[in-house]
Symmetry: C2
């Protein structure tokens, strides 16, 4: 049985706590947050504390707070000689934790929202540690939660995080723009759902370069001009131009 | 039984011909293409012709060619007094076909690639016609193939097409950039597959504005600076900046 503490009450902490609760080989020791009470979205059987000094001994402590708080909070955590301190950030160096003896990173390559359940088992987890011995312990824990555990150093992890911003955050923003265009023309945005789904689904079968379609790829100047005209006066016109230029270059 | 002719041998013609072949109430009369032979990807039982003048009488003729060829090709098609000529383009006005007596539009809001099967039944079809009588016929046909038939005039259809470019073509390009970043750092691009899938999956449950996450939404300047630094010298830096600016504005 592995004893786990989780620091934070955000989306990552929420989904991670649920995954731990659902695993018989993991004991979710405690969860720390700044608020007086455990937020209602969490399973209320969790042992909650708002006092970092009162953390019970743990094997692994997973820090799931915003990047700029990681170092500050980790400095306040008292660890036993066998305990390992981990952060869950894609873009923060492992060295943010080097005031501890045993430390590492547990970065789930996924987008988390509270309103959406997720199968933790399928989430790639990028792990890193300050020693081989600790890496093995972190790997054993990560493998309890996910089938896709990979080792990545801080530099590689930063690349994964940057790539994830394009593949997820920016992708989602494309749909925000798309919905805005439809709403401005009184068209139900649901008309795009099968398209969004298929655009992602395709990537299971095709390389994204082979999956690319659309007026920019065909260098269909007439259609692109029509689109730019429809976007006149909108800040999205610039985005349309710059992304289309990138796609046009793919063929060269 | 509805007699259908299809003009074109591209991705739309390919998937549409398969959908017609699989429907007992539709007879795929003939398929026209410029090549001497029916391309091998097509079901070889299809009656193929490379001579537009020899088209057999049809109820509906679906023109699935590139936008700039629609008017030119439709001028060459001989229609019976009862026949309806349709194009399948999102961005072309219905008027491209107004040399005919009966005409309309059948626009499937989807992205088609040859290497990827698709359930036509789930594809929203935006239809338009030059008369109520023809619209009914087009609707009856479209409803045989899809559960999601909507009426849209040429202006609305253009908006749907523009929105689809953001939701699909630009979204796919975001994954191309993401994969490029990983490849440059010797990381298997498959690590992003669950993320791409979940990013689309979320949209079934959440409005994209509620689903938005990432450093730009948090206005996490430190992380964005790190990312811009990683993209130094790459043409993707500009795309990162402009999309992040858009996301930052969402909170205001």
């Amino acid at each position: 049985m592995i004893n786990i503490s989780i620091i934070g009450t955000g989306n990552v902490a929420y989904h991670l706590s649920n995954a731990c609760l659902n695993n018989k080989e993991i004991n979710l020791n405690q969860l720390y947050g700044r608020k007086n009470k455990l937020p209602v979205k969490f399973n209320q059987s969790i042992n909650y504390t708002s006092d970092l000094g009162s953390l019970k001994p743990f094997d692994l402590c997973l820090i799931c707070v915003s990047d700029d708080q990681i170092e500050h909070i980790s400095n306040k955590i008292k660890a036993e000689p066998y305990s390992i301190i981990l952060h869950c950030s894609g873009s923060t160096s492992i060295n943010a934790l080097n005031q501890h003896s045993n430390f590492g990173v547990f970065y789930p390559v996924q987008t988390f929202s509270v309103g959406k359940k997720i199968d933790f088992n399928k989430i790639p987890i990028a792990i890193e540690s300050n020693s081989k011995k600790n890496l093995k312990k972190i790997k054993d824990f990560a493998c309890l939660l996910s089938k896709k555990v990979i080792e990545a150093n801080s530099e590689q992890r930063q690349s994964i995080h940057l790539a994830a911003v394009f593949a997820s955050n920016f992708t989602n923003y494309m749909r925000i723009i798309a919905d805005e265009i439809l709403e401005n023309n009184n068209i139900d945005t649901k008309v795009l759902d099968p398209l969004s789904e298929e655009t992602a689904e395709k990537l299971k079968f095709l390389n994204p370069k082979d999956a690319q379609t659309g007026p920019a790829l065909r260098n269909d100047i007439k259609t692109m001009k029509k689109h730019l005209n429809l976007l006149k006066g909108s800040s999205h016109q610039k985005i349309y131009k710059i992304i289309s230029s990138g796609i046009i270059k793919l063929k060269k």
